[in-house]
Amino acid sequence: MAATTQAKIGWSVANVVTIVLVLIPLVWIISLSFKTPGSITDPTYFPVHWTWANYSGILTTATFLRPLLNSIGIGLIATFIAVVLASMAAYAVARLNFPGKQVLIGVSLLIAMFPAIALATPLFNIERILGLFNTWPGLIIPYIATGLPLGIYTLSAFFREIPWELEKAAKVDGATPFQAFVRVIAPLAAPGMVTTAILVFLFCWNEFLLAITLTATTAARTAPAALSFFTGNSQFAVPTGSISAAAVVITIPIIIFVLFFQRRIVAGLTAGAVKG
C-alpha cells in the first residue's frame, strides 16, 4: 500500500511540473499585455504597474480589428466549405465502393504532407495575375484545399463507425431516403462533422505562412499576420505591449474553445492516426 501512496505522490508531482511548464509562457504574455509602457522594459515576470491601455489601444484601431474580422470570416467560410466537401468525399470513402478511392486517399495524404512554402511561390504569382491577391477568396480557397485532407481523413474515420444498417431499417419502416438520411444518419454523423470543423477552423486560425504571403494590407490580412506587422510610432518604440495584448486576444478565446471541446479534439486528432 505504501508503494501506491508513493506512486501517487510521484505522479502528482510530475503532473504539477507539467502543468507549470505549460502555463509559464502563456501567463508571461498575458502579464506583458498588462504592463505599462514605462515598466515593460522591467523584466519582472508579473506586472508591477497594471494597465488596460494596451487592450483599449488595439481594440480601437482598425489595424487590429479588421484583421480579427478577416480571421473570423475567412476561417468560418473556409471551414464550412471544407467540411461540406470533405463530408461528401468521406461518405464515399467510408461507404461506397468505387475505383479511384485509393488515388483520392493518396492525393489527399500527399497534400497533407505538403510544405506550405512549396505552394507560396506559385500561388502568389497565380493570385496576383488573377487578382485574387490580398482578397478573402485568395485565402479561403487555399485554406479549403489544405483543410480538405484533414477533413477527409478525420471524417472517414468517424463515418466508418456509424451503423449504416439503421438507415436501411428506417427505409424498411417506410421512410424516404431523404428522411432516413436527415432523421437517422445526420444526427449520427454530426459529432464527427463538428469535430472536423473545429480542427479545420483551428488550422485556419493558426495559419501564418500563406496569410503573410498572399495578403498585403488589412483588407485580407488575418490576425496572426497583422500581429507580426504591428509597428510602433518610431523605430525606437517596439510595440511590445500592443503585440502582447493582441496575442492574448487571439489566443484566449481559442484556448477556451479548445478546452470546452477537448474530448472531441482529442478524438479527432487521434481518429485517423491509429487504428482502433
Binding site: 465502393n97 468505387f98 486528432l269
Partner: protein
C-alpha cells in the same frame, strides 16, 4: 464498410480492373455516386495544389525576377544549379535538419513520458490532458512572441534569469530557443498520438509480464514499445514532416538572421527580398523532394504504415 456495401461489389477491390465483367445497375450507380461525391474535393485540391506545383516546376526552369521582367527567359536547370552550389542552401538545409531531428527526438521522449503520465496517473488525469491542450490551441505566432519577449534583454524574465543574455543574436543559441519553442508547442500533439497508441497495449499482457517478474523498464521496452511501433512511427512521421516545414517560430524569433533560417525562410526571402520567382520555385520543388525523401525513408525503411492505409482496410 464491408458489412453494408451491396453484395455484388463487396470484397471486390479489383472491380475496376475487370472491365469486361458486367456490373449490376446498382454497382454502376454506386460507382458514379462515389466519383460524384469526391469530385468537388478532388477538384479543389488539384486546383490549389497540383496545378500550382506544376506551375512551380515550370517557373523553376525560368529566370524570372519580378523587378526585371525583361530578363525573363528559359534557363533549364540553371536555378537548381545555382541553389545546389550555394552555401546558403546547404546551411539552411542543415539548420532545418538539426531543428527537425532535435525537436522531434526531444518531443518523442517528453511526449512518451506525458502519454504514460496521462495513461497511468490516477489523480488529475483530466486536468493534465486539459493543460497540455493549451499549447496545441495557442496560435504559434502568439506563442513565438511570448518566447521572443522572454529572451529579449531588459524586457524578458528568461533573459534576466540568465544574466541579461541575448541568445537570439547568436546562431546556435537562437536555434536552441527555436527548438524550445517548437517543443513547447507540439509535444502535446505527440503525446496525444502516443496515448492513442498506448491504448492498443492489452492490459492483460502487462499484468502477465509483471507476474513473470519483468521490471517496469523491461515491460516498457519489451512489451509496450514493440506493440506501439506502428503508432510511434506514424507520430514520428507526422511530426518530422511538420517540423521540416518550420516557418512561423523562426519568422517571429529571428526572421532567419544570423544564419538561423530554415529552408522555408530561405524560400520566402528569395521570393520577397530577391523577388526571384525562378529561384523561389526551384527552392519549393527542392523542399518537396526533401519531404518526399523523409516520407519514403519512413514508409519503406522503417515500415511505417503510410498514414491512412488503415482507411483502406
Amino acid at each position: 464498410m464491408t458489412t453494408v456495401t451491396p453484395p455484388v461489389t463487396a470484397q471486390q477491390p479489383a472491380a475496376g480492373r475487370r472491365r469486361r465483367a458486367p456490373l449490376s445497375e446498382g454497382a454502376r450507380a454506386e460507382r458514379r455516386l462515389g466519383w460524384l461525391l469526391c469530385a468537388p474535393a478532388v477538384i479543389v485540391m488539384v486546383a490549389v495544389t497540383a496545378y500550382p506545383i506544376g506551375y512551380a516546376v515550370y517557373l523553376s526552369l525560368e529566370r524570372y525576377i519580378m523587378s526585371s521582367p525583361q530578363l525573363t527567359k528559359f534557363v533549364g536547370l540553371s536555378n537548381y544549379g545555382a541553389i545546389l552550389s550555394s552555401p546558403f542552401w546547404w546551411h539552411a538545409l542543415v539548420v532545418t535538419i538539426i531543428i527537425t531531428v532535435v525537436s522531434v527526438a526531444i518531443e518523442f521522449v517528453l511526449g512518451m513520458a506525458l502519454a504514460l503520465l496521462m495513461y497511468r496517473t490516477i489523480w488529475g488525469r483530466g486536468g493534465i490532458r486539459t493543460t497540455i491542450l493549451i499549447p496545441y490551441g495557442i496560435v504559434t505566432v502568439a506563442a513565438a512572441f511570448s518566447w521572443l519577449y522572454a529572451w529579449t534583454p531588459s524586457t524578458g524574465y528568461l533573459s534576466a534569469l540568465f544574466g541579461n543574455a541575448a541568445p537570439l543574436t547568436s546562431t546556435w543559441q537562437a536555434i536552441g530557443v527555436i527548438i524550445l519553442a517548437e517543443i513547447w508547442k507540439t509535444t502535446a500533439f505527440m503525446a496525444l498520438l502516443l496515448m492513442a497508441g498506448l491504448s492498443l497495449v492489452p492490459e492483460d499482457l502487462l499484468k502477465a509480464s509483471k507476474v513473470d517478474g519483468a521490471s517496469a523498464w523491461q515491460r516498457f521496452t519489451k512489451v509496450i514499445l514493440p506493440l506501439m511501433k506502428p503508432a510511434i512511427l506514424v507520430a514520428l512521421l507526422f511530426r518530422m514532416l511538420d517540423a521540416f516545414r518550420i516557418f512561423d517560430n523562426i519568422f517571429i524569433l529571428t526572421a532567419g538572421n544570423n544564419g538561423t533560417g530554415s529552408v522555408s525562410i530561405l524560400t520566402y526571402d528569395n521570393l520577397f527580398i530577391g523577388l526571384n520567382l525562378g529561384l523561389g520555385s526551384a527552392l519549393s520543388i527542392l523542399i518537396l523532394i526533401c519531404v518526399a525523401i523523409i516520407a519514403f525513408v519512413f514508409i519503406k525503411g522503417f515500415g511505417a504504415a503510410a498514414p491512412g492505409t488503415d482507411i483502406r482496410r
